[in-house]
Symmetry: C2
Subunit: 495 residues, 2 copies
């Protein structure tokens, strides 16, 4: 007999017994021998029929399907609750489309899907974007590309028509081939890609459509006129709905993103160091949530860039003029990412396996915490300065404090060996080995590096402030800052 036995964790043993000679007969004569601990109740369930099993499977399947659907819709609902502007955007698109359909429905002139009304519908569908900048970008591109391509195509069409029936298809097809190739290749040029990508699609499309059409030139002129007017109606409805009803400005989004990310950077830096130096693990989860804020900074490159691109198309709105220096925001973003790389490394070192003992940590704890507090204050002040678009009166002071804190930390590092010697004598050890101290030293020098990079952030914010004309310092401000932070007041006296 071939035996195969297993013991489950509850102490029950089951054993499958197969006859020795035949594996083919195995299916028919498998014996199950179940050994249960004494006192267990045993219940043998016979196999149920096919119908019952199919039914059970169906029920399970439906329940699973229901759960999936419910889960999905809960997620979707949450999406809307988290950012109601997305829901509003969806309704805005619906409204713009309903308006355009009603507009053409009430005008029998443009009846039918084959007519020109479809160009208005199409325009609304493809031009309506989440941000106003997106709408302007696509609207401008669509209009310009249609007009340009239309005129070039008319010219080519006229030439082809003049050269006789025989050459017409050759000239038309080869012009489509050449212009489409050239336009497609131009998309690989970065500056064209960012500003006119959509326009090039429309250019190729319009040119091909007009070139292919079998109409005469004067018919084409009339068509072009109609087409352009419908596209204009589409773009007009889009822009009206987009700007009138709760507009989302790409520029403002970028502004807020940078402000928010800078605050996250500050709190995550504080969070990291709290995590490192404090033993109280009560609110660990909340803290590590807080300390991971830098990840948002690491991941926002793409959205910063696309928002800066779209913001260029936006007219004056709120505090932002037409030629607001959006590219400066990108520079601030880059400098913040540099800082975030360093915080990421710091976080890695803090969570590494090799850690210094608490007594060693204690030696630098105060200085490190102080430096981090100062760094965070500088970042928060910078964030506030961008948010309010006003120069900060207390920034120089805060940076001075930060540099003093760096100096203090370096002094503490200088006196560390003698401090450790004392510590070692207390603990009756010959010397404190360097390896014990190494993790703390690394943390300290990463903090120093972070403070250097924060100065880079400050420079970027400075040049943003200069170019976008931040409000100059007013006299009543230092008061406000110093009352909100007593430590700052003290250091004013020290300086």
């Amino acid at each position: 007999m071939a035996k195969d036995s297993k013991t489950t964790s509850s102490g029950m043993e089951w054993r499958m017994t197969l006859p020795d000679n035949s594996s083919a007969r195995a299916e028919q004569c498998v014996e199950w021998q179940v050994t249960v601990p004494e006192g267990s109740t045993v219940k043998v369930e016979h196999e149920t029929g096919i119908v019952a099993r199919a039914w059970a499977w169906l029920v399970r399947f439906l329940v699973m399907l229901k759960d999936k659907f419910v889960g999905f819709f809960k997620n979707v609902w949450q999406l809307g609750v988290d950012d109601p502007r997305k829901v509003i955007h969806a309704f805005k698109v619906g409204l713009a489309l309903a308006l355009v359909t009603l507009f053409y429905y009430t005008r029998p002139l443009y009846e039918g899907v084959g007519g020109t009304a479809m160009w208005a519908v199409m325009t609304v569908v493809v031009v309506f974007e989440y941000t106003v900048g997106g709408c302007f970008y696509k609207g401008f591109n669509r209009a310009t590309a249609t007009v340009t391509a239309g005129f070039i195509a008319l010219g080519v069409h006229w030439i082809a028509h003049q050269s006789g029936k025989q050459f017409e298809p050759v000239i038309l097809s080869s012009s489509v081939f050449l212009l489409a190739s050239a336009a497609t290749f131009s998309r690989f040029v970065p500056t064209i890609k960012t500003k006119f990508d959509y326009g090039i699609t429309i250019f190729i499309l319009t040119f091909s459509l007009v070139a292919v059409s079998g109409y005469r030139v004067d018919e084409l002129f009339q068509m072009a006129q109609q087409r352009i007017s419908t596209i204009a109606v589409g773009i007009f409805i889009c822009l009206c709905v987009c700007i009138m009803i709760r507009p989302v400005w790409a520029g403002q989004e970028l502004h807020l993103l940078i402000v928010r990310n800078m605050e996250k950077l500050a709190t995550s830096l504080e969070g990291c160091i709290e995590e490192y130096f404090e033993e109280d693990l009560n609110s660990e989860k909340e803290r590590s949530q807080k300390s991971l804020g830098y990840k948002a900074v690491l991941n926002s490159k793409a959205s910063e860039e696309s928002q800066a691109n779209l913001a260029r198309w936006e007219p004056r709105h709120g505090q932002f003029g037409f030629r607001h220096p959006w590219s400066e925001y990108l520079k601030v973003g880059i400098s913040m990412r540099y800082t975030a790389y360093c915080i990421e490394t710091l976080n890695g070192c803090i969570n590494s396996d090799i850690q210094a003992s608490n007594s060693v940590k204690e030696c630098l704890s105060d200085e490190c915490k102080k430096l981090v507090t100062q760094c965070a204050m500088v970042l928060k002040e910078l964030s506030k300065s961008i948010k309010e678009m006003a120069q900060s009166s207390s920034l120089d002071l805060l940076v001075g404090n930060m540099n003093m804190a760096v100096q203090d930390l370096q002094d503490a590092l200088r006196s560390l060996p003698s401090q450790l010697q004392e510590e070692a004598q207390v603990q009756n050890v010959a010397t404190m080995p360097l390896m014990e101290v190494l993790p703390v030293i690394t943390v300290a020098s990463l903090l120093t590096e972070i403070s250097v990079r924060i100065e880079g952030v400050m420079d970027a914010v400075d040049s943003l402030g200069e170019l976008s004309g931040f409000k100059p310092v007013s006299d009543d401000k230092p008061e406000k800052v110093s009352t909100s932070n007593d430590e700052t007041k003290k250091t004013i006296e020290v300086i």
Copy 2:
């Protein structure tokens, strides 16, 4: 007299003299008094006429324009020379369009731009993408969305038609409003966004167009049939041209990107450490070019993600099956970025102002270099393993060596204080201050952290290898590796 004087660096002084009493008259009576060093030649140029100035301006403007154009076209040319596939892609688009126009030009059935031929042209223009995956994604989305939206719209149209002339526009417009809103909102759901973004645009478009049209339902059926057949022709031509002529597969691009980035990571790590420890500044430029390779890793998140998305749509090609685990590549990319963050910080520390003296650097130089060499070897082996899609036979050995190098570095750090004591005695100083040693210690512990992160990369590559079935280890490989690197051979004997 109000005076304002400046001295230029060449020793020449110029002075502007204004009459005291009037600022309004200033324009008319500004006197220039130029004091030049003895022996200088002075040449006074009188103002030229308007025509001459305009001419000069025009010439300068034209030259500038020419320079700009020449510069732009040189850049564009370079773009094509650097990656000829881009030029080929452009010609492919041209070819596909020329084919589709010829196809419909030779069939008088579909004449005119208002006819259905335009849908084929439009399909080619918007569906043709750089990668095969992109073509499949857009083609599938376009086809599915057109069919689905068409059927739903026909149903709504039928209902509206049944409810009489009065309710028809209301039902149609409100259905457009509701469906367009729902579809637009669904775009904010990340999974739908990545897979069906384009499809939703087409869904809204088709639904609106059909709902708006004033045709009867049976007319619509015929139209739908024609529309679908033209779109099918467009997609078919696209896919044929895209796959037949020098196809660019998103999957392969992703594969190569990951391989290339891993090599860059290895060389940039080596470059950083070379830069730090070596004094020979001959080829500094080349070296810092080399050491900045990690930046490519930091910046390739977006392209990795989009390529992985498109790769999912691609059929079997080369070494890659239909359900190749593309998301595993993303995980490898993430782990590489983690390493790159650390290398970035290392680079910052290396280029910081505070540096250790050479004698201190010397103490750890050998161990650091050895660790970096081992780290780079592991990365290169991983890169090779992905490139050849084969498990590496020597990887375990290399990782063992890397960990031994970490151990050696830590031993060296342990013996650093006594070494420094000796050094200090030679130099006749009491003790070597910690601040002198700090930068080297930081570099050493960052290197340790980097080696930990490289193990993370290894784990990610491992799971990629498992899921995509890398070729198992063959027997003749270890030989090859050990001959290519003598140091490895030695350590085999040590182990």
